[in-house]
C-alpha cells in the first residue's frame, strides 16, 4: 500500500513537472493564420454624435509563437492592408485611404506586434484543448506611427485530432481580441472637424484570428 502511494505521488509529480500552461504541448508553437481553419477578420466601429458606422477587413495575415512553458513570452505579428478595409460606402472608403486619413499609398499596412502576454488566466483545460484569456501587449503601427497597445484576448487552443485534421494539419487556434485606437495618437487628423462629429475619436476593433500550428 505504501509503495502504491509513493508510485501515485511520483506519477502525479512527474505529470505536473512536464505539463505546461498549454497542457501537454511542449516548447514553442508557431501558429500561422490560415483561411482553411477559419476566416480571420478585423471589425472596426466608429461611434460619433452625428454618425455611426462599421466596417471590416478580411485580409489579415501573420503568425504568432505561443511559448507553452511560459505563455507570457509569446510573440507575434498580425497585419492587414489599409485598402482591404471596407465600410459599404465606396466614397467613404476612398476618403479613408486618402492622405488626410490613413494614407494607404505611403503606409499600406496596419500592424500589431505582440511583445508579450500578461494577466494569463486558464479558463478551461481538457483533453480537447486549452482556453485562456490574457492581455496581449505590443506595438500598433498605423500611418507610420508606432504606439504601445494592449489588447484583451481570449485564446482557444484545440489539440490535433482526426476531426481537426479534416480542416488543417496541426493544432488549431482561434483568438478573439478587442482593443481601441485613438486616431489622434496616430496622427490621423482627417479634414476640418470631422473627427469627433462624424468619425469617432476612438475606433474600436474586434478581431478574430484563426490559425494552425506547424509540426
Amino acid at each position: 500500500m505504501k509503495s502504491l502511494i509513493v508510485l501515485y505521488a511520483f506519477i502525479f509529480t512527474t505529470l505536473n513537472v512536464y505539463a505546461t500552461q498549454l497542457g501537454n504541448v511542449k516548447g514553442k508553437k508557431l501558429v500561422t493564420l490560415n483561411k482553411a481553419v477559419g476566416s480571420s477578420i478585423v471589425k472596426f466601429y466608429s461611434n460619433s454624435p452625428f454618425e455611426k458606422f462599421e466596417g471590416n477587413s478580411q485580409s489579415l495575415q501573420g503568425s504568432f509563437t505561443l511559448v507553452a512553458d511560459q505563455l507570457e513570452q509569446s510573440t507575434g505579428q498580425i497585419s492587414f492592408p489599409v485598402n482591404s478595409m471596407k465600410t459599404g460606402l465606396s466614397k467613404r472608403d476612398d476618403h479613408m485611404y486618402g492622405k488626410d486619413w490613413l494614407d494607404s499609398k505611403t503606409y499600406p499596412m496596419i500592424t500589431f506586434d505582440v511583445k508579450k502576454f500578461t494577466g494569463i488566466a486558464i479558463k478551461k483545460a481538457d483533453i480537447a484543448g486549452i482556453e485562456f484569456s490574457a492581455i496581449a501587449e505590443g506595438l500598433c503601427t498605423l500611418k507610420g506611427v508606432a504606439k504601445s497597445a494592449k489588447a484583451k484576448i481570449y485564446v482557444k487552443y484545440v489539440f490535433e485530432s482526426e476531426t481537426t485534421k479534416k480542416r488543417a494539419e496541426g493544432d488549431l487556434v482561434m483568438v478573439d481580441a478587442d482593443f481601441s485606437v485613438s486616431l489622434k495618437d496616430f496622427n490621423v487628423l482627417g479634414k476640418s472637424d470631422i473627427i469627433g462629429s462624424k468619425v469617432g475619436e476612438n475606433i474600436d476593433l474586434d478581431i478574430k484570428l484563426f490559425g494552425n500550428s506547424s509540426h
Binding site: G38, I41, G88, S90, V158, T163, T164, R167
Partner: protein, 101 residues
C-alpha cells in the same frame, strides 16, 4: 381638381414612398453602394458560432448622398424638391382660388 393639386398629391406619394424605402434600408445616413451578407455558422471544433461576411453590390438609400456631385442619390434631395414644389403648388392654388372669387 386642378393640375397643381394633382401635382401636390403625386409629390406627396413619391416622398412617402422614398421615405418608406429609406426606412426599409435601415435609416442609412449616407447612401451606400454595398451591403454585407452575413452568414452565421456553428463551428463544431471551436464550439462557437462564426460569421462569414461578404460585401455585395447593393444600393441602400440614405438621407444624404454618397457623392456630393450626385445629390439625387439621397432622400434629402427629394425632400427639398418636394417641399419647394409643394410650396409653389400651394401658392398657385391660393392664387387661382382668389382669382375665381
Amino acid at each position: 381638381m386642378t393640375g397643381w393639386r394633382i401635382l401636390q398629391i403625386c409629390l406627396f406619394i413619391v416622398t412617402l414612398s422614398l421615405t418608406g424605402l429609406w426606412v426599409k434600408d435601415g435609416f442609412q445616413v449616407f447612401t451606400k453602394d454595398k451591403s454585407e451578407k452575413i452568414t452565421i455558422q456553428q463551428d463544431e471544433i471551436f464550439g462557437t458560432t462564426i460569421e462569414k461576411r461578404e460585401w455585395v453590390e447593393d444600393f441602400q438609400f440614405g438621407l444624404l448622398p454618397d457623392d456630393p456631385l450626385q445629390p439625387y442619390r439621397s432622400l434629402s434631395f427629394y425632400l427639398v424638391v418636394t417641399i419647394f414644389a409643394l410650396a409653389i403648388a400651394q401658392r398657385n392654388i391660393s392664387k387661382s382660388s382668389k382669382a375665381s372669387l
